[in-house]
């Protein structure tokens, strides 16, 4: 999966309309659409669509979308 596809899935998970503003450097916790609920949705997305069980600790440490993207590698 490339970053574009990943960022679109991420945007869908947090119900964000425009994924095009997302870059590797985006600090996702600072997005207007981000909420504690978003964290659950993103974890679910990782599990359902990508079949990856994300370690909670690593997720909590992630700051940018690149950090998250690297977790699926």
């Amino acid at each position: 999966m490339d970053f574009k596809e990943f960022s679109e899935k991420f945007a869908e998970a947090i119900e964000m309309e425009d994924a095009s503003i997302l870059t590797l450097e985006t600090k996702f916790r600072e997005l207007d659409d981000w909420s504690s609920l978003g964290a659950l949705s993103v974890i679910s997305m990782f599990e359902d669509d990508l079949d990856i069980e994300l370690p909670v600790d690593a997720f909590k440490k992630a700051i940018t979308l690149e950090d998250l993207f690297l977790l699926i590698k």
């Binding site: 504690s36 609920l37 949705s41 599990e47 994300l54």
Partner: protein, 353 residues
């Protein structure tokens, strides 16, 4: 794996009682209407029944009403009841045990064995395991399992994670020694490393109540609460449950050669809709087999499984033989799964107080 298999104990009746007072999540003042809809869409809670937390309505009052009605409908002689277990995190007092108060209030004999067990979301399954274990050898013929919580008490008003989710209920389950009963099978699981994932830090012996307990603070996510409120790390709980509940149920099915196709209903602790749906899909149960009432009753901790049976399956429970898998999971972190069957039991309609 902590497995249990219980013979000779049958569920004869189930009842539930909730506070009359309804709180609508769409009226929540600390989020925008869009944020609230997003929440409702994911977590599934539209409204909740919550007690006013001034001591006028406690968990034991809800359980009392549920048990009193159930005993009347069963037409049981109260003198014959010898076991009462009260499973709750919201006892009337630090001491004595609420079970002792309820023994007296319900008019049960002084020959009753009565005690409390402080457990939350896993409470129904643990309670069923404990009560049926005690009764299986046949000395105690009739017993009552009371499971409830008025956990909205612990929700900080500005903490959307808990204050839009937690709700209150009290349930009663009547158990009888019955040599013709179908067996019940259990699997239990505990991970105390996750104790901080759901915790009320102050007011126990480890951090006794002090003036500081009343001081509001903002946590790393900007949520305001005191140390007398419940702090929930939703992510940890979510991960714990989504990984271990399917495992626990699969283990239960394989250990006891239970045929999944024969199961009428999967009863999941109404933790949150997103999580329950994830568990259901992992286990490949159909939506029609997996009842929900979280939209109207929120998360009522240990009471949620029997409450679900009363609100969604009452007529079937009274008229049919049913086979269930149920799983309760959460605070502890603690998890219990059970396979059990009911055969035309007494199930009064939902009570309110």
């Amino acid at each position: 794996m902590a497995f249990l298999k219980i013979n000779n104990v049958a569920i004869k009746g189930i009842s539930a009682c909730v506070p009359k007072r309804v709180i609508k999540n769409r009226d929540y003042p600390y989020l925008s209407p869009e944020e609230i809809e997003k929440y409702i869409n994911a977590i599934g809670v539209e409204e909740r029944h919550c007690a006013v937390q001034d001591g006028s309505l406690c968990t034991s009052d809800l359980c009392y009403k549920a048990a009193d009605k159930l005993l009347n409908d069963l037409n049981w002689n109260r003198e014959e009841i010898q076991l009462l277990i009260f499973v709750s995190h919201t006892a009337d007092y630090k001491l004595p045990s609420t079970a002792c108060i309820l023994q007296h209030k319900l008019g049960l004999p002084i020959s009753t064995m009565a005690f409390d067990s402080p457990l939350g979301c896993s409470g129904f399954v643990y309670g069923l395991g404990m009560s049926s274990s005690i009764m299986q050898n046949g000395y105690i013929k009739k017993g009552l399992l009371l499971v409830g919580n008025t956990q909205s008490f612990y929700a900080a008003p500005k903490d959307q994670g808990t204050s839009l989710l937690f709700a209150d209920a009290g349930c009663a389950v009547a158990l009888e020694y019955d040599e013709n009963a179908e067996s019940m099978e259990f699997d239990f699981f505990t991970n105390g490393a996750g104790k901080d994932a759901l915790i009320v830090p102050d007011g126990g012996c480890r951090h006794p109540f002090s003036p500081n307990s009343l001081v509001e603070y903002s946590d790393e996510n900007g949520i305001t609460r005191t140390n007398l409120h419940e702090k929930m790390d939703g992510l940890e709980v979510f991960q714990f449950a989504s990984r271990n509940v399917p495992k626990s149920i699969s283990n239960l099915l394989s250990e006891f050669d239970i045929t999944q196709e024969k199961i009428n209903y999967l009863l999941l602790h109404q933790a949150n809709k997103l999580l329950c749906e994830k568990i259901r899909k992992k286990l490949k149960f159909e939506l029609e087999q997996t009842p929900y009432n979280i939209d109207r009753f929120g998360n009522t901790s240990g009471a949620s499984i029997p409450l679900l049976m009363v609100t969604e399956l009452r007529t079937e429970l009274e008229n049919a033989h049913l086979e269930f898998i149920a799983s309760g999971f959460g605070v502890g972190l603690s998890l219990g799964s059970v396979h059990f069957q009911t055969n035309k039991i007494i199930c009064p309609s939902l009570l309110t107080l």
